[in-house]
């Protein structure tokens, strides 16, 4: 959703050519034990995915841009990072 306000507004759109999308698999493991962490909540571009019993979650069809990424699991330090696809 793009919100406009009274007066002039400007929005930059980054377009990807077909076939230029990225797919991203994340693997989440416990640093101390090395075991997979399931049901960790990963958020990218406002899209939420939960890791499965193998600690895996998939983001597909990522278009070019810069996105905030947050990985949350109760009892663990939250990971915040930026994902860049140029």
């Amino acid at each position: 959703m793009i919100e406009l306000k009274t007066g002039e507004n400007e929005t930059e759109f980054v377009m990807s050519r077909e076939g230029e999308e990225a797919n991203w698999t994340i693997v989440v493991i416990d640093k101390e034990t090395g075991r997979s962490i399931d049901r960790a909540r990963a958020t990218l571009r406002g899209e939420v995915k939960y890791t499965n019993s193998e600690g895996l979650a998939y983001f597909q069809g990522i278009r070019k841009g810069t996105y905030p990424f947050v990985l949350i699991k109760e009892g663990y330090e939250t990971i915040r990072d930026t994902v860049v696809y140029r």
Partner: protein, 214 residues
């Protein structure tokens, strides 16, 4: 920053366990974290504010309701039984909140009873919490009293870095009957004491670590 390329990408994240917010646990939930040494191991890593909240919860839940009635110790081949005084109140509390091995030896058969209950237990026979708990002497004019002090921040010489407790008071402050500011015009002294000789035959020795005049 994580860079993606066109096509397939994979990233592995290693997450660090931080455990629960100890200040939000209720008494039943907190207990295993205390007896396992989990809290003691992380005591100085906790934010000061959290440590103070947690300390007050611990004292309110495990010291304030704790009433030692009588105690007994080996004497002339039998037992000598007495009504518990403040020193026994201190030892009994330290043997739970602190590390019982600093004040007594298992097998010395130094027993206490809960007030109103017939069951006797040996100091050190219960699980303890291993927290930095010390004997505190309160000495005023004609007044000698023993209470406990739980260390809240690293500088032991700062009065406000201690939570003082004994009997049904989980936060003794200057002016309370257990810590009178002055008596007959004479100021009271409060000192933190470290055990130098464990409890045996109804006596123990200790030395002063730090002292304040109220």
């Amino acid at each position: 920053m994580i860079s993606l390329i066109t096509g397939e990408n994979s990233t592995t994240f290693t997450m660090v366990e931080v455990g629960p917010d100890l200040t939000k646990l209720d008494k039943e939930q907190l207990y295993p974290y205390l007896t396992s040494g989990y809290v003691a191991d992380r005591w100085w890593d906790l934010p000061s504010r959290n440590r103070r909240i947690l300390a007050q919860n611990i004292i309110d839940w495990w010291s304030v309701p704790f009433k030692v009635g009588r105690y007994k110790y080996p004497y002339n081949g039998g037992w000598r039984e007495r009504r518990a005084d403040c020193s026994i109140g201190v030892v009994a509390r330290m043997s739970i909140i602190g590390d019982w091995e600093t004040i007594c030896t298992r097998g010395e058969y130094y027993l206490a009873s809960w007030e109103g209950h017939a069951d006797w237990y040996e100091f050190g026979d219960r699980s303890c919490f291993y927290l930095p708990c010390y004997i505190v002497k309160v000495q005023g004019y004609g007044f000698n009293h023993g209470i406990c002090g739980l260390q809240l921040d690293k500088d032991m010489t700062i009065f406000d870095n201690w939570l003082f407790f004994q009997y049904d008071n989980g936060n003794i402050r200057p002016g309370d009957w257990q810590m009178p500011i002055e008596l007959e015009g004479v100021r009271t002294f409060v000192s933190i004491e470290r055990t130098t000789k464990k409890l045996k035959a109804n006596s123990m020795n200790y030395e002063t670590i730090t002292e304040w005049e109220l």
